[in-house]
Symmetry: C2
Subunit: 189 residues, 2 copies
């Protein structure tokens, strides 16, 4: 899933017969490697706490953004549903069992051809620990979230959208924030 062309395998760009755009072809064996956007599935996971729900975050043990905090999320695999993928990621990264409640956000990241589906979910038991891709996993109050040490913009966005929907049961999922929303959130840091 590197953005660089591999030194072998499909590595030449050309328009296959009947197609309307360049695809990646292997000059050795003729294979056409269709490249398609990748789906990331993840969740904002909560557990009830004194006064307010706590939010589960994972500190990344791997690049990119090693050492920074993120939501349990990752690439959807074949032959799973989006919700099953988000549950698998919560297990792999945080050894957490979750129940999914709603689709919180759909983020488009066309630069890297990625679509992120972020769910709202609850821990089904107050048990979690760092999986192989995490250095640490912890529950945070809203005012304890390490805003300056979040791994990716979409983690920040999803946390804000989650906070704005506390107590709401049926809502349209968030999309990429407007410049106005980004500017407003910036002043809150």
């Amino acid at each position: 899933m590197s953005e660089e062309s591999p030194s072998q395998g499909p590595r030449v760009r050309a328009v296959p017969p009947g197609d309307d755009r360049e695809r990646l072809l292997c000059p050795d064996c003729g294979y056409v490697a269709y490249q398609n956007p990748l789906i990331v599935v993840g969740s904002v996971v909560t557990w009830p706490g004194d006064g307010e729900d706590r939010i589960l975050l994972c500190r990344r043990a791997i690049e990119p953004r090693k050492g920074y905090w993120t939501l349990p999320a990752g690439f959807m695999e074949e032959h799973e549903t989006t919700q099953a993928g988000a549950m698998r990621e919560a297990w792999e990264e945080a050894r957490a069992r979750i129940a999914i409640d709603a689709l919180l956000a759909v983020y488009d990241i066309p630069r890297i051809s990625q679509v992120q589906l972020i769910f709202r979910a609850r821990l089904t038991a107050p048990e979690f620990s760092a999986g192989p891709e995490s250095l640490d996993v912890a529950l945070f109050r809203w005012d304890e979230i390490p805003w300056g040490e979040l791994a990716f913009p979409t983690v920040h966005w999803a946390l804000r959208e989650h906070h704005a929907r506390i107590g709401q049961t049926a809502f349209a999922p968030a999309v990429n924030p407007t410049p106005d929303a980004l500017a407003r959130w910036e002043t809150m840091l």
Copy 2:
């Protein structure tokens, strides 16, 4: 995007070092072809009509399900957003310009590793015609929809979910129907 392994290129299944599942490898050149779920983007497109909005459907000119009616929809391409992809498909299949209004449904089809994002949209002008992948494009009243000649189950599902949300402005997107909903819809045919 065939489900069969090609006769050349990546075609051997094995677990790469550091991975936790089988991937498709090319025994000739060593390339690892990660296979990921594909995103289909499409829309239920309407145009105001006497008494009720009309719904745009396309009759497929290509297999699978050639001759059957479908929504304008197709595989999302790299470096586009989900909404831009749905707009592109409306143009390619129906020569229609659309404005997207809301995310209507997210359908998981794990058997074929597909996620469908279906939007609610409006024609921006009452102009459309069959693109190269369509035999015909037409606007239908609800009671004119060719229910017995729809191309795919998700077309049927999305039309039902659209109809159930007429007049609603903010709603959670539909997911795969429950067995109860499927049984209820069956009795309506």
